[in-house]
Point group: C2
Chain length 279, copies 2
């Protein structure tokens, strides 16, 4: 019953051998859940690979721990997107988190992830600190009070379709407004190779909106080119560059990819062609 | 006429849309030259992606410059493999190189690369410092005099087929023997994800044979998982960690990926699961 399930992007395809378990169209997008031979169960939205059980930690550890180990306090966390639950799970591994709001636009992504990819959200779904809102994260960011979060994380898909509004100045300005002093903002920031122009524009814009913004380079094999980035931003001090040793030690033991060393490397590993653009 | 040209590896495939220009079987392997829409012309050996015109610098800059910017002297360089010419081209950009021996087992790879991928070898093929020997690099390493090279680079394919002998202790011991004091050895060392066990075993073995050996992590989108490594080794001092500022400045201007910053990052960016194995 096995066949190839591919994402095509600009004359390149990345495919996993497996079978489709669910295929449906929600109010926002086409959703497909698959079972792959190599990486366990996986999720595609509008034909683009989002995650898979044995590959998701590359992405979620990279998005979460630079922010959660860096912010001055991490009592209140906001996650925009993140419907598979992996970002919330990694955040809630930090015992200092007291409340996490997750605002995901597509309730079907949450329901299908809970049913078919339960290991990705793990215990987050039942954590008393976890509050799910199915709704528009952009409106949430516009309406939440000033200085209401210590960390704001954006775990959205590519800047087309429902995630388009997660890549512009008004949204980033609201994210800055939401942060308490010593807070950290983090977002996936696309591939420096397959989405080079979007990546460069995002880092530049975040540098205009925040005092500091720096990309971290890593790998998500199933994403276009496999080479990915996350960008962190802060006011005052680039705290995301300096993981708290106590938090880092405790969290690092359970990480597959992230460590303070890996993070420092990923922030230095800016390729020359991007460094010439970003300085 | 365009169709998908894929490499399959353990239930994953990476494909480029394009057409096959040449397909033949040499004495050593199946050789295929293609033209792709996204990355220009490319080369596969035994069905595995080797290189493509608009993607090759990820690989060649990473293999060459940590060694060529780090070694005490770089008068004499040995390249084993490297039939597409890209490694030789990057080495010969260093004006201090006076002689480069390249020993490639498969003369047809060289001929087809010269004909169809002329930009990858570039001016190397006609450089008076360049000496090509079509022959067995393992025998060359065994027979060359002690301390006859400043830098030894291994640019071979995966450890199956003709490249198998490039991954074992007797070969590495000869490479060490060939190095002059202050010399640097470098080799591609597979993917920490798709070839995790081979990668870990190579770094461990190089650490037994040399005083110092350290992997550098980077990206070659067309290789399995896209996440790749190169390992550098030296006696006495790990000179490959300390690029000579003068050489680095001159070479860096023409690089797409490599810079001293990128290299430092790539050496730090060891994922936690590998750091736990290698210490």
């Amino acid at each position: 019953m096995s066949s190839w399930i591919d994402e095509e992007h600009c004359g390149v395809r990345y495919g996993l051998k497996g079978e489709t378990l669910v295929e449906e169209t929600s109010a926002f997008q086409q959703i497909r859940v698959i079972r792959s031979e190599r990486y366990g169960r996986g999720l595609l939205l509008d034909g683009c690979w989002m995650t898979a059980e044995q590959q998701e930690r590359h992405y979620h550890e990279a998005l979460v721990h630079p922010a959660l180990c860096g912010a001055a306090s991490i009592e209140r966390v906001l996650v925009i997107g993140g419907g598979d639950g992996g970002t919330a799970r990694e955040c809630l591994r930090h015992p200092d988190v007291q409340h996490l709001d997750m605002v995901e636009i597509d309730g079907r992504v949450v329901e299908l992830s809970q049913e078919h990819l339960p290991g990705i959200g793990g215990s987050a779904w039942n954590d008393p600190r976890f509050q799910l809102t199915v709704g528009d994260g952009i409106a949430w960011a516009a309406n939440a009070p000033d200085q209401s979060y210590d960390v704001v994380l954006v775990d959205g898909s590519d800047p087309a379709g429902p995630a388009e509004g997660l890549f512009n100045r008004p949204f980033f300005e609201h994210c800055r407004r939401l942060l308490r002093p010593g807070g950290v903002f983090g977002t996936q920031s696309e591939s420096p190779e397959a989405f080079r122009d979007v990546h460069i524009a995002m880092v530049r814009l975040l540098r205009e909106v925040f005092d500091h913004a720096d990309p971290l380079y890593g790998w998500v094999p199933m994403y276009p080119s496999g080479w990915w980035s996350w960008t962190f931003a802060a006011m005052g001090t680039p705290r995301y560059r300096m993981p708290d040793p106590k938090r880092a030690e405790m969290i690092g033991e359970g990480c597959e990819i992230w460590s303070p060393r890996w993070q420092r490397g990923g922030m230095d590993a800016m390729p020359a062609f991007i460094e010439r653009e970003l300085g």
